[in-house]
Symmetry: C2
Subunit: 329 residues, 2 copies
């Protein structure tokens, strides 16, 4: 295993030290592993997300104006613990309640639920929205039902914008739910990522083999197949999404790298996605192309499609200032 | 070779199609390979850069308000041709002259010079600044003298800010020169990138071996050595920089991924860089952590240090809106 690390034991702590130094607008509690906005916004619904590490910039990179108030990063590919999520919830709370945005993995759902109960004991009202946008498989290694992947970024952005506008907790939760319901994702891996503590790739693929429908922790997808030209891979992903939720009208498209795939290839994938979507009579109204929800050094990509409404477009366009997304201010 | 491409022949065209679709604020001439701002700013000094492709987001990702006016991407790791650079220069020209920002590689320097002569025939005044911030080696595979690498981003940012403020061509060139002279870089590779047309990595490293001082096209560095803990690698890079230009006062630090290295590791590297720099009595006043000048899917990182002045800090902080850098607006 070749990695830029001091040791597998210090990967998270070292990254959190780096995040703390790079982003003085954030407060990073390295010991308890909570990343929060340095300045609390009074009377705003707080937004908290979290999950295993290894998906950077998710979620810490989305803490800031117009998006999350706090994030709880667990060990690599491992859920944060309830006390840690409680601390993040307390950091995000300014009296208007807190939304938990939880990717649908069994450990995450359980630990966020326990944290929500602890927060209620603390008189913080919590509503949870579970994201499950990945159409690849029903049930998976760590999940009952569908997995939450790239759609989570859309949920965090639009819910964050709504909270920033002053919407109440139920409204913010309604918007988060709607964004999740209108988002679908599909991922394809060329080479698995390597968890530092494991020291070898999560799965092995032959030189001409790829995994269709891979999860963000290297969970198996629908099938293994042969490497094919990019337009066929993008077509496979979008066919899978379209079969589940027809791609129609104005859509937001995220072409996301898994961490080990360079931007030049992601732009090529985006070009093919636009061609596919326009060929199906829809319009790519908004986009992101880059590394937004990664799987360590995995080579591969995912596509997320969100069917926009006027309200979702407006909230997507609203100003945001976080380490990983910044516009309008 | 596993890549997300249609074929090695279409990599650049496919990426340019993607860039065109993703960024409507840019005009992309796919046939002639010029990326320019869709709206020309009257009476502003124009800024043009370019070079081989495979370093994305460099340079196309830095075209926009406050930075470049046009970029000319060549074939992968290959200089753009003079006619192409001339088109970029014409696109950038609005009557106040054009600055060419050229990374020091023999082909780039030659082709930009020819393009500058063609532009002068066209009554466009051109001044060129050649970047050569990489301290790793004197002379290299494609270069007489030092190579231009991460410092080029700093040069493009501060010169772009000066031009946006209304500075004249000589002033913009003076600031670009100063930013280059105050910047130093050093890169370390864990695994070489693969040029699509070549089909295999540019060089081979054993499982425990790394390249110290690697160039952005996989050129050899100072030596091959053993993989070591991250703080030692960062120390090696900063020692090399410090020996050439003492790290002192307020500095800008860019911890840059080569394309195949995930963000979690880059943040760890940044933490070690901050510790080293503070331990040497200097202060990290500004930073970037992420993929800013890549080498296809190469695994590794580089560190760029710029010794700031009040003027450089102000110009770095000035509003910028490009695909890859955006703040203040």
């Amino acid at each position: 295993m070749k990695k830029l690390i001091n040791s597998p034991d210090t990967v998270i702590t070292d990254a959190l030290r780096g995040i703390a130094s790079a982003h003085p607008e954030l407060t990073v509690d390295i010991e308890n592993r909570v990343i929060a906005r340095a300045e609390k916004v009074p009377d705003k619904v707080g937004l908290v997300s979290g999950g295993g590490s290894g998906h950077e910039p998710l979620h810490g990179g989305y803490v800031g104006h117009g998006m999350l108030d706090a994030a709880a990063p667990g060990e690599v590919y491992t859920s944060p613990v309830p006390d840690q999520i409680l601390l993040a919830t307390q950091a995000a709370d300014s009296g208007a309640g807190v939304l938990h945005i939880v990717k649908n993995y069994t450990g995450d759902v359980l630990n966020f639920r326990m944290a929500a109960e602890l927060a209620e004991d603390d008189d913080i009202r919590v509503v949870s929205v579970v994201t499950n946008d990945d159409v690849a498989v029903e049930d998976s290694t760590f999940t009952a039902g569908r997995r939450g992947t790239g759609g989570t970024i859309v949920v965090e952005k639009v819910a964050g914008a709504a909270a920033t506008e002053g919407a109440d907790l139920d409204t913010v939760a309604r918007i988060a739910t709607e964004a999740n319901e209108r988002s679908r994702s599909f991922g394809i891996a060329l080479k698995a990522g390597t968890v530092p503590a494991a020291g070898k790739p999560g799965f092995e693929l032959a030189e001409d083999e790829i995994e269709f429908g891979v999860g963000i922790h290297g969970e198996p997808g629908r099938e293994r197949g042969k490497l094919a030209p990019l337009h066929e891979l993008v077509g496979y992903a979008l066919d899978a999404i379209h079969a589940d939720l027809p791609v129609d009208g104005d859509v937001l498209v995220i072409v996301n790298g898994h961490g080990g795939t360079p931007l030049i290839e992601l732009y090529g994938a985006f070009a093919e996605a636009v061609a596919w979507i326009e060929g199906h009579g829809a319009r790519v109204a908004r986009n992101l192309v880059g590394n937004y929800i990664t799987s360590l050094d995995q080579e591969g990509f995912s596509i997320t499609v969100t069917l926009l409404t006027d309200e979702l477009t407006r909230l997507w366009d609203a100003p945001v200032s976080t380490p990983a997304l910044r516009w309008g201010m």
